[in-house]
């Protein structure tokens, strides 16, 4: 298995006079699940959008194995599951899976109830059903790294454990970054943690670090 390392550094995001991120940093390695925590509005999603090119940023440095990454074609190396809806409304589920080169029937093997959604548009699914389908599609498409922004949101407790299992399975030969407010769901699958507070990212070594950065009481 090839080992790769993704480094996202010096992320600066400003909206007018408001500075959201002044020193965003996160790293991911093949075989590891990295967690990113932070309070609402701390800039977690901003950092990911900045990385992917979905947001105009003042500064961002992205490299894989020490080589700068062309952010115009970042999707070939890094796949991102955003917090909001990923699939455009006019695309059928099977078509989206086809474009992402993921077998829809493997997905149905893991989640049998989706066999009836094969020919459905994403808006025909409930929020949780759509989320799970998008998560699977992203996680099983070809890339070196996956970034999952609140993957457990809207997903029922039984499916959460299935998703955790999928994340662990994929992390064997990929690097994964996860963020979520479900601290227990995150901490049980991550190998290392970061927290964003006051525009900066800091590594988390123990629970006290999270208290110190105002994430936990």
């Amino acid at each position: 298995m090839d080992k790769h390392k993704l480094i996202v550094d010096s992320v600066v995001v400003r909206f007018g006079s408001k500075t959201v991120l002044s020193g965003g940093y996160i790293t991911s390695e093949t075989g590891m699940v990295t967690g990113l925590l932070g309070r609402n509005g701390a800039g977690k999603s901003c950092m990911f959008r900045a990385l992917m090119g979905g947001l105009r940023v003042e500064n961002v440095m992205v490299s894989i194995d020490g080589l700068p990454l062309d952010r115009q074609i970042i999707g070939k190396s890094v796949k991102y599951l955003p917090q909001g809806r990923l699939l455009p409304d006019g695309i059928k589920l099977r078509k989206a899976f086809e474009l992402y080169d993921v077998s829809y029937w493997s997905f149905v093997n893991s989640f049998p109830k989706y066999s009836r959604f094969h020919d459905s548009y994403i808006w025909e699914l409930s929020g949780g059903e759509a989320r799970l389908a998008e998560l699977y599609m992203v996680l099983f498409s070809e890339a070196r790294f996956y970034i999952l922004d609140e993957p457990f949101a809207q997903i029922d407790p039984i499916s959460i454990s299935a998703v955790q299992h999928l994340i662990r399975e994929r992390s064997r030969d990929h690097g994964i970054i996860v963020t979520d407010h479900n601290y227990d769901a995150i901490s049980s699958i991550t190998d290392n943690l970061f927290v964003i507070a006051d525009g900066y990212t800091s590594p988390v070594h123990c629970r006290d670090d999270l208290v110190r950065h105002g994430y936990l009481k």
């Binding site: 959008r49 992917m52 090119g53 979905g54 947001l55 115009q72 074609i73 970042i74 999707g75 070939k76 796949k79 991102y80 955003p82 917090q83 909001g84 809806r85 990923l86 699939l87 455009p88 006019g90 695309i91 989206a96 474009l99 992402y100 080169d101 992203v138 498409s141 070809e142 890339a143």
Partner: protein, 108 residues
């Protein structure tokens, strides 16, 4: 990531620029109709100037109203957004040019 086929690229460009294509098509046909009925050549220049304005307004509105995560679907596929925007722009303007040329040729 497997190489994308031409058919898939066309499909994704259509999916990305659907609103702009639809607004553009309505405008293009209106201009063609106007040229065919009045057959007044200076209208050609005005049509392209107004087209640029309509395109800019549509582009701005789509950008403002579109879900901020909507572009991620295309970015994940390794498609540069600027390239997609440029494709939509070129196709829209070229279709107006082709349509106007066709009207001029048909009317001798």
């Amino acid at each position: 990531m497997p190489t994308m086929t031409v058919k898939e690229r066309i499909y994704l460009t259509w999916s990305y620029g659907k609103v702009q294509f639809l607004v553009g098509a309505v405008y293009n046909f209106m201009c063609a109709q106007l040229l065919a009925t009045s057959f007044f050549y200076p209208i050609l220049v005005d049509a392209f100037i107004l087209k640029a304005l309509v395109y800019a307004i549509t582009f701005y509105l789509v950008k403002q109203l579109r879900d901020k995560d909507a572009v991620i679907f295309y970015i994940n596929l390794g498609l540069p957004i600027k390239k997609l925007q440029l494709s939509v722009f070129l196709i829209d303007f070229l279709s107006l040019a082709v349509l106007m040329a066709a009207v001029v040729v048909l009317h001798g």
